[in-house]
């Protein structure tokens, strides 16, 4: 048995929703050629005009005219900046509180507010959050499940409550990271998208209800009804569908206004400017690595690769070394937080391992194939 890797980047065929063409190139790379105008180009001018024509309908006046979900990360900070200073809108920034917010993350939220926007920082009942983090970890191998749901629900709830028509998200993940053909050109983020792509993994908020979590506890995580969304004409859009996404440009602008990166990349990651607000990101990525054969370092190095900032050969050797790593200290802190033992942690992580890809050698999971 062997595993195919994309000829251009480092994604393995075992990544969900990844498609290879006849030449063995993945759709994420193909999308990149479209994004950068190499072939079957996306007409960015056209799309930008399209965006302007949508937002100008709502521009002006004293009321908020768009919601921008923010985490303090570089992308959402850029979003707020763009909507306010480039598009002249009055955004309401909305944060769904991260259970593992870092100091840098908090600092960066201050910087974001200093752009000059009103901000709602929504914190779900911490007891409920802790329980949902534990369940997310145990059931779908993702402690951030509650964050995904919250991030893609609460902004819409507020849009409905405040009568705001637009909710502006960042990149279309299917375009940047790979996804079913129809979804790559989607500009709409709606209930179906949320269910299919937002990281909920087929797991619905009402699945969480049991003897510990009540229906009332998770009410804040319920997406507004189709009726309400239609009546209030609420639209979720991906900014990244209409504008060529340039992370390095965004970082520059953010740092100019005071935004800070991490002191060093998290374990298993290559860059220091992503996931700055997620302390336990290495744990989640470690599980993802064991499920699908690739982790955060692969994601990030692929982007460097596609932007011509590193060769595939160099990226490959880095991935072989660091992909999937996580810090022991974080494991302890995480176990403490959700109140489980280290042994139980190991047992749960083991339950998600794709044993076609990994085998246990001396207590450690080793990738069975040669990465190429």
């Amino acid at each position: 048995m062997s595993i195919k890797f994309c000829k251009k980047c480092l994604f393995p065929e075992t990544k969900p929703d990844l498609y290879f063409n006849d030449e063995g190139i993945c759709d994420s790379c193909i999308s990149a050629t479209r994004i950068h105008g190499v072939s079957n180009s996306i007409d960015w001018n056209e799309r930008k005009k399209n965006f302007e024509s949508i937002v100008k309908e709502y521009r002006g006046g004293d009321k908020y005219n768009c919601i921008v979900p923010v985490s303090g990360g570089k992308d959402s900070t850029w979003q707020v900046y763009a909507m306010k200073n480039i598009y002249g809108m009055k955004p309401l920034a909305v944060t769904f509180d991260q259970f593992d917010q870092t100091d840098i993350g908090n600092y960066n939220l201050d910087i974001l507010r200093d752009i000059g926007v009103d901000h709602i920082h929504f914190t779900l009942n911490p007891k409920v959050v802790k329980n949902l983090v534990k369940k997310g970890f145990e059931i779908v191998g993702d402690p951030y499940w509650v964050n995904h749901v919250g991030m893609f629900t609460v902004p819409f709830t507020f849009a409905a409550k405040f009568d705001i028509n637009l909710v502006i998200y960042g990149e279309n993940p299917q375009l940047e990271y790979g996804g079913p053909e129809k979804s790559r050109d989607s500009m709409i983020m709606d209930r179906r998208w949320r269910q299919e792509f937002s990281g909920m993994r087929g797991f619905r908020e009402e699945d969480m209800i049991d003897h510990e979590i009540t229906s009332a506890d998770i009410d804040a995580l319920r997406y507004p009804s189709d009726k309400e969304v239609a009546e209030k004409d609420i639209r979720g859009l991906f900014y990244g569908h209409f504008h060529k996404w340039d992370a390095m440009e965004h970082i520059k602008i953010c740092e100019d206004i005071g935004w800070k990166r991490l002191a060093e990349p998290p374990k298993g990651s290559w860059v220091d400017y992503e996931n700055c607000d997620m302390k336990f990101i290495d744990i989640r990525e470690h599980i993802k690595y064991l499920k699908y054969g690739y982790g955060r370092a692969t994601d990030q190095l692929n982007i460097e690769l596609r932007n011509g900032r590193i060769t595939r050969k160099e990226a490959l050797s880095i991935v072989k070394e660091i992909d999937g790593e996580f810090s022991k200290e974080n494991k302890e802190l995480f176990c403490d937080y959700i109140n489980i033992t280290g042994t139980r942690f190991d047992k749960i992580v083991d339950s998600f391992v794709n044993t076609e890809l990994f085998e246990k050698v001396n207590g450690k999971w080793i990738f069975k194939f040669i990465r190429s």
């Binding site: 969900p16 990844l18 797991f203 998600f352």
Partner: protein, 251 residues
């Protein structure tokens, strides 16, 4: 009173969950263990797992099946190219409560008889892939790639009875994965001709589909897409069905 059954149908390839549309175009949508854990929390009545690798490569991933049966807290039916007593043994030993057979029914019926003798009628489900044509059905096998030429539906049913098979699962190839709705005409016809417990699959789109099919007398409905995507939750569907006086198991 015996309750009708709602049965998630999961396709596995390796350790991944895949989705199909019209039996083709398999797309990896997640990992097997998360999915099993999620469905075990919902209120389904049974689960059907089809291992595509086992079917295509002839080797059952018993290690994965053991892990799945440890997490799966409801009756589990396993299928994937079972065409020998040894494979049936492996499946049951690894935790399957029932097995489903498809190609072997047409190519090696003598094996079916052996399995029935060993494990009992109630442990085998015959999976039939059909396309409606005029007033009859074309039956396929081998992942819906080949047509059965020597048996029509009635003959297949008779053969199933003779071999002692306990249950029949009919897949509507045309509606598979589309969420366009169940073909109620097809279901009504099947129900009138099949006397064994009958499970139907293919196209379930909403709660009313479940209601209509159960009203036609099917014993179980298997579905994939509807439970993964925007579709309804199992508890939601069951509440709806209870209101419509369907005999369904609820919380």
């Amino acid at each position: 009173m015996l309750k009708v059954r709602i049965i998630p149908l999961l396709l596995l390839k390796g350790n991944s969950l895949v989705k199909s549309v019209s039996f083709a175009d398999h797309r990896i949508v997640g990992d097997a263990m998360s999915t099993i854990k999620v469905f075990s929390r919902r209120f389904a009545d049974e689960m059907i797992i089809l291992d595509l690798d086992a079917r295509d490569k002839g080797v059952i991933n018993t290690e994965l099946l053991k892990r799945i049966s440890a997490e799966c807290n409801m009756p589990l039916t396993f299928g994937g190219g079972i065409d020998s007593v040894e494979k049936a043994d492996q499946a049951f030993y690894s935790g399957a409560d029932k097995i489903t057979i498809n190609s072997a029914f047409f190519k090696k019926p003598e094996i079916i008889k052996k399995i029935v003798d060993r494990y009992g009628s109630q442990s085998i489900v015959l999976s039939l892939d059909v396309k409606k044509q005029d007033n009859d059905f074309i039956i396929y096998y081998n992942n819906a790639s080949k047509i059965v030429t020597d048996l029509n539906l009635d003959q297949s049913i008779e053969k199933a009875n003779m071999l002692g098979i306990g249950e029949i699962l009919v897949n509507d190839i045309n509606r598979d994965g589309m969420m366009n709705g169940l073909d109620l005409d097809l279901i009504e016809t099947l129900r009138s001709r099949i006397k064994l417990p009958l499970i139907v699959a293919g196209g379930c789109a909403d709660m009313e589909d479940f209601n209509s099919a159960f009203k036609l007398g099917v014993d179980g409905i298997a579905a994939g897409s509807i439970f993964h995507w925007i579709g309804e939750s199992i508890v939601g569907i069951k509440t709806y069905l209870k209101d419509k006086d369907i005999n369904v198991r609820t919380l």
